[in-house]
C-alpha cells in the first residue's frame, strides 16, 4: 500500500539514497591572525589564543584555536572549503533556514598554523511537523571530521541544518 503520509513524501527515495554520502576532502588552515581576530571579536582574553609562551605555560604545544572557532570561522575566505560541506547538503523543497544546533567533539586542541584535512558526511535526514507558521521541517545532520597530518582525528563537528515550510500564505525568506 502506498504511503500517503505527507511528511514522508518530503524525503524522496533519491534524497534518502544520499544518506552516508561523503564530500571530497578539503584542507583547512588555522591561521594565527584569524584566530586572534576571532578571540578579540568574542571578547575572550585568553592568552592561549594569542601568545606562544603563555599558551605553553598553560600546557599547550603553542597557540591554539578557541573551541567554537571551528566551522564557518575557520572557513572564511576559502570558498572551496565551504563547498566541500555544501556538497553533501541536500537541496530542500523549503526556502527558510535556521541552524538547529552545532556540536563539537575534541580529541585535542587545534594549534595555530596547523593544516587539517576535513571530510563532511551527510549522516541523517528526517522530517518533523513544526508548530503552525513553521510547518514541515526538514532536518539534515552533517558531520565534518578533521584529521591531522598523521591521520589522527582532531575534532568532529555535527551541524543540524533545518529548512522549513513557513507560513503558507507568504513568501519565504532565507533566515
Amino acid at each position: 500500500m502506498p504511503n500517503t503520509d505527507p511528511l514522508d513524501t518530503i524525503i524522496t527515495p533519491a534524497m534518502r539514497g544520499q544518506i552516508g554520502t561523503t564530500s571530497a576532502p578539503w584542507m583547512v588552515e588555522f591561521e594565527p591572525g584569524a584566530i586572534r581576530r576571532y578571540a578579540d571579536a568574542i571578547g575572550d582574553p585568553n592568552l592561549a589564543y594569542r601568545d606562544d609562551d603563555a599558551a605553553r605555560a598553560l600546557g599547550y604545544d603553542g597557540i591554539i584555536a578557541p573551541p567554537v572557532f571551528l566551522g564557518w570561522p575557520a572557513w572564511q575566505g576559502a570558498q572551496e572549503q565551504a563547498t566541500g560541506f555544501e556538497s553533501v547538503r541536500l537541496d530542500s523543497p523549503f526556502k527558510r533556514h535556521v541552524t538547529g544546533g552545532t556540536e563539537w567533539r575534541y580529541e585535542r586542541p587545534i594549534l595555530a598554523g596547523e593544516r587539517l584535512t576535513a571530510l563532511a558526511e551527510l549522516v541523517d535526514v528526517y522530517v518533523k511537523q513544526g508548530r503552525p507558521g513553521v510547518g514541515k521541517m526538514l532536518f539534515q545532520i552533517i558531520d565534518t571530521r578533521y584529521t591531522d597530518g598523521a591521520g589522527a582525528l582532531v575534532v568532529t563537528t555535527r551541524y543540524t541544518d533545518i529548512t522549513f515550510e513557513g507560513p503558507q500564505d507568504e513568501e519565504g525568506s532565507d533566515g
Binding site: 584569524a34 581576530r37 576571532y38 578579540d40 571579536a41 568574542i42 571578547g43 575572550d44 585568553n46 605555560a57 598553560l58 600546557g59 578557541p66 573551541p67 567554537v68 572557532f69 566551522g71 564557518w72 570561522p73 572557513w75 572564511q76 575566505g77 535556521v98 541552524t99 538547529g100 544546533g101 552545532t102 556540536e103 563539537w104 567533539r105 575534541y106 586542541p109 555535527r158 525568506s173 533566515g175
Partner: protein
C-alpha cells in the same frame, strides 16, 4: 585573575558554575561578522531584520553566544582541564546594546553564561564532568542552551 583549578574529585553533581557576564553590542556584532565570516544581514541591518522577524531589530549571532559558552567552559576548566565536547542550540533571539560612542555601549541588558554539573564519569584515563550550560539574557531568558563535557584532573 587566576581561578582555583577544579578537580574531578572536588566537583559535585548539582554544583553551579560561577556566572560569566558578557555584553553584546552592535559594534561587537560587526566585529564578529568580520572575524567569523557570517555576514547574514539580520545581524547588522535592522530594517531587514524586522522584515524577516517581525518585532525584532538587529539580532545577536547564535554563533557568538555559542562562542561565549566555549570561553566560559575553557575558563572554568582551568589550565589542567580540557573541553572535550560542546553542543549548542539557539532558543531565542537577542537584541544587542547600542553604542554610546566609538568605545562605550549604552546601558542595557547583560548576558550571563551559566552552568551546572549534571554527571561525573570516568572513561579510560579521562575523568569527565558533564554539564548543562546556557546563556541567559537580561530578561532571564535562556536564549542559547548547550551540553558540554570537560576532562578534569582527578585531584
Amino acid at each position: 585573575m587566576a581561578e582555583p583549578q577544579p578537580t574531578w574529585d572536588s566537583v559535585a553533581v548539582g554544583q553551579e558554575l560561577p556566572p560569566l557576564p558578557k555584553v553584546a553590542t552592535t559594534q561587537m556584532l560587526v566585529q564578529f561578522a568580520g572575524a567569523s565570516g557570517d555576514f547574514a544581514p539580520h545581524h547588522f541591518d535592522a530594517k531587514l531584520a524586522k522584515a524577516w522577524f517581525p518585532g525584532t531589530g538587529v539580532i545577536v549571532h547564535g554563533a557568538l553566544k555559542a562562542a561565549w559558552l566555549g570561553q566560559y567552559l575553557t575558563q572554568w576548566a582551568g589550565a589542567q582541564g580540557r573541553l572535550r565536547g560542546l553542543a549548542t542550540q539557539d532558543r531565542g533571539m537577542d537584541a544587542p546594546r547600542h553604542m554610546l560612542d566609538a568605545h562605550q555601549a549604552e546601558e542595557g541588558q547583560t548576558w550571563h553564561c551559566m552552568g551546572v554539573v549534571v554527571a561525573k564519569r570516568v572513561e579510560g584515563a579521562l575523568a569527565l564532568v558533564d554539564l548543562q550550560v546556557w546563556v541567559e539574557n537580561g530578561a532571564g531568558e535562556r536564549t542559547t542552551r548547550g551540553e558540554a563535557t570537560v576532562a578534569l584532573p582527578r585531584t
